[in-house]
């Protein structure tokens, strides 16, 4: 049986803790008697017969008829699937989406359905490269659909092919892909790695227009999202669920297939990352040192290549299909079963290592804006109940925070860093003053629509993702980052963890409590 997550009180005998530092790691000795470390639960066992479980879910859905009963000759069937932002890191082939879609296509073929489109639900993310589509869907699906133009990627700027479904009670316009809107049946193939994803979010962001997204991807909504991992206390999810209601009333029939993964993330030789430090064997310590030193010696581009080449041996822990909200509740049960750790009370200082990857840089660079997004957006939000760190407390992250951007994937991020951040780091101010310019910039629009660039507005959304954390924290410190770049983000640079704790003392005092969020892997702190 996998062991549950737990909270370790650090004493003098506790070994140094593992921290991510981008494409490398460090071990940090945390102060005894005032530090606790939150460890994630060990990976849950996976389903042995994945294809059988998927088929079973399609044939025995929740609150909907079995999929074969929904498939009729001459119908218009659209299959949407999560893009390359999931899973992180990418899973070993065959990808769960491939398995789901192959099963759906088999049933569709049996039913004589021949009008089938496959759409990558990108939202405002970058278009996937062909090799990424092949990885996600498998060669058979790619070769059958892509050459005929039946496998394509959502375009949130193609207003000729977007359709308004209706408006919520709060005036939010639900505007999605016309093909999806006009389909007789939409099947959504999802991977759920965190509680934030799935549910109505899949359609109302994945195949929505910029206009539709702007109703919930904004500073006011994100500042009132408490947290991203708790949809019942998330203004973002409230908006998405309102939109979902409109979809249910006026939109196409949606058959959602959601899957959950365990946290078996890193294969050998990186499997030591998932172990608790005091349980490291001599071999683990040697592997850590060898890996750390080797990564130190190679150029950062090579480090990135090594890390992004990791394919995770994730195992599927659940699959449910049918009516979106019902399916999603089951999904959340599974996700929380893997992620939740009970934690008593908040902390003065929260420490976290920022890894090389987040949902917005698959195969790319973790640029400074994404460091902010990952730290204050994702990791800060890994809570239910109350944030791990108290209001006015200090967040300490470790990351090199190099001033480096992927010019193909993140063109507007570069300008955002050079133009917007020197002017303001306040999400509300930048939204008011700068967002429209970036959203409407023809070049960014062109690169998003025809290249592999994130939408022009995306750096704003990445920044807004951290809006609640930014508002909540008294100070944010980055250890080991490029100092001018860290300052540009509005944070404080520190050379070492000890320096960071010294700086933090100015805000929260010398005997402040410290909590280390142990990453990897993923956990959600249920803070009482």
């Amino acid at each position: 049986m996998p062991r549950p997550g737990f909270v370790l009180d650090v004493d003098r005998s506790t070994p140094p803790m593992l921290f991510w530092r981008g494409e490398n790691f460090s071990l940090e000795k945390l102060p005894a008697d005032r530090t606790r470390v939150i460890y994630p639960p060990e990976p849950l066992p996976g389903i042995d017969d994945v294809d059988g479980a998927i088929r079973n879910a399609l044939l025995n859905p929740l609150d909907m008829d079995p999929l074969p009963a929904l498939l009729t000759p001459g119908m218009k069937l659209t299959i949407c699937f999560d893009d390359a932002s999931l899973s992180l890191p990418k899973m070993r082939r065959p990808d769960t989406r491939q398995r789901i879609i192959e099963a759906v296509l088999e049933l569709a073929a049996e039913a004589g359905v021949d009008d089938v489109h496959l759409i990558a639900a990108l939202g405002l993310h970058r278009r996937m490269h062909d090799y990424e589509l092949r990885h996600v869907l498998g060669d058979r699906i790619f070769d059958a659909f892509h050459p005929r133009g039946l496998l394509y990627q959502h375009d949130a700027e193609d207003y000729d092919n977007l359709s308004v479904i209706g408006e919520t009670d709060e005036g939010e316009v639900v505007e999605i892909s016309k093909r999806v809107a006009e389909s007789d049946l939409v099947v959504y193939a999802n991977i759920n790695q965190v509680a934030m994803d799935g549910g109505w979010k899949s359609i109302t962001t994945g195949v929505a227009s910029y206009r539709c997204l702007s109703y919930h991807h904004n500073p006011a909504t994100l500042q009132n999202t408490r947290s991203l991992m708790d949809r019942h206390h998330s203004a973002l999810h409230h908006s998405l669920w309102r939109m979902g209601e409109v979809l249910r009333e006026h939109g196409p029939k949606i058959f959602t297939v959601e899957t959950t993964l365990n946290t078996d993330t890193f294969p050998s030789p990186f499997d030591f990352l998932a172990k608790r430090e005091w349980e490291w064997t001599a071999k683990d310590r040697a592997t850590f040192l060898a890996t750390q030193k080797s990564l130190d010696r190679v150029p950062v581009k090579m480090r990135r290549k090594i890390m992004h080449s990791i394919e995770s041996p994730y195992r599927m822990t659940g699959v449910h299909a049918g009516f979106t909200p019902t399916v999603h509740e089951k999904t959340l049960e599974n996700v929380y079963a893997q992620h939740l750790v009970d934690v008593e009370g908040q902390t003065d200082i929260l420490t976290m290592g920022i890894p090389y990857i987040c949902p917005y840089n698959p195969e790319g660079i973790m640029n400074p804006i994404l460091v902010m997004c990952m730290g204050l957006g994702y990791l800060f939000n890994m809570y239910r109940g109350k944030p791990l760190v108290r209001e006015g407390g200090v967040i300490i992250m470790t990351h090199p925070t190099y001033r480096d951007f992927h010019s193909v994937h993140h063109p507007s991020y570069i300008d955002f860093f050079e133009e917007v951040l020197p002017d303001t780091t306040d999400p509300a101010v930048m939204s008011e003053k700068w967002e429209a310019k970036y959203a409407e910039d023809e070049w960014y629009r062109h690169l998003y629509r025809t290249g592999n660039a994130y939408h022009g507005v995306h750096p704003f959304y990445a920044w807004y993702w951290g809006a609640h954390g930014q508002q909540h924290a008294g100070r944010v410190i980055i250890v080991g980052g490029d100092a001018p770049t860290v300052r540009r983000l509005g944070f404080t640079p520190a050379s070492t963890m000890n320096d960071a704790l010294e700086i933090a003392a100015d805000v929260v005092g010398r005997s402040a409590s410290i909590t280390h969020l142990h990453v990897p892997s993923v956990l959600v702190a249920d803070v009482k």
């Binding site: 570069i414 300008d415 050079e418 133009e419 910039d441 023809e442 070049w443 062109h446």
Partner: protein, 400 residues
Amino acid sequence: MRALQVRRTPVKLGMARITSALSPAAAAKVGPLELRRIDDPVRPGGPDAGWQQVHTRLSGICGSDLALVDGHASTYFEDWVSFPFVPGHEVVGELDDGTTVVLEPVLGHAARGVAPPFDGAAPGDGDDYAHLATPSADGLLEPGIQTGFCCSTGGGWAPWFWAHDSQLHRVDMPDERAVLVEPFAAGIHAALLALPTIDGVDDPIIAVLGAGTMGLATVAGLARYVPHAQIVVGARYPHQQALARAFGATVVVADRELLRAVRRAAGCHVVGGQLTSGAHVTIDAVGSNASIGDALAITRPRGRVVLLGMPADVSLDLTGLWHRETELKGAYTYGTETLADGTRPTTFQLAIDTTNHVEAERLLSATYRLDDHVDALAHAATAGRRGAVKIAFDLRNATS
């Protein structure tokens, strides 16, 4: 008197060119410039011809001086100067009666006793430069485009030199400010060359590439005389960026970010490293292969690129210039300007006004004695990365 003097010695020029790649100080040591005792220059005209003895107070070191000293100056000028000469054309000095004057260095028609191209012409005006390359009728004034490149007049890197009345501007300002009037005039002249291109444009974008003395002077000129333009500046060093902002630039970015900044301002695309549109006018205050290439890449079709920095020998692919019908315009010195309101002041009048307005002395980073010219030239050659802008010689306590 003891003065810094340049002689036509090809071997020294060659050595300077080679050693400058290693160190500016080494180039200054082996190059054609030497501190030596020279004969006092003879008055270059009769006693009533308007020549005055000017006692140097401060004299700046310009990019063109450095090019000469380190052997990188173009051979183009060989027929337009007369050796041996005393450099120094950025000068604030004092007349025998104690009046403070700033030198407008062009040895124009009046200085050479030639009819001006029009009444009230400034020394730099006209469309025939024959007088610059021809000895004066009495033979006392040899060829030379400017004081500082003419063997007859002497130059600012000496305790005193000869200057014609037509070259002198009486000023009432600190020496440290006055020594910057000449480079400001050059920068303002380049700034005003933008006007014909942006005539009738509502929201013109003018990019400035480089923020040394000339680039900063251009920015100050644009902010003062082309106030409706968005001024986008690419400056390599933080102190240059801060000064560009202080002088009125709308947007200041690191030099490598200029293309993106202009793109943002123009809202255009990037295709193959070139903007599809871009700045209406780009002023290149660097003058290198790379900077001219960059200027062409960020200037919109049928826009203008103004070359303020002396370019010398460059190698460029001009296909883009041809395709985009880009106008390439040189910006040398100064003369009589036409402002947007139709008035026609001289550039020096505008420069005096602007140096007062921006308190230009803040650009003067260090002064040296002539004896320390090797250090001075090395400092000037590396001004940017040493946090400096303008380096000058201080001759206020010098003796002949």
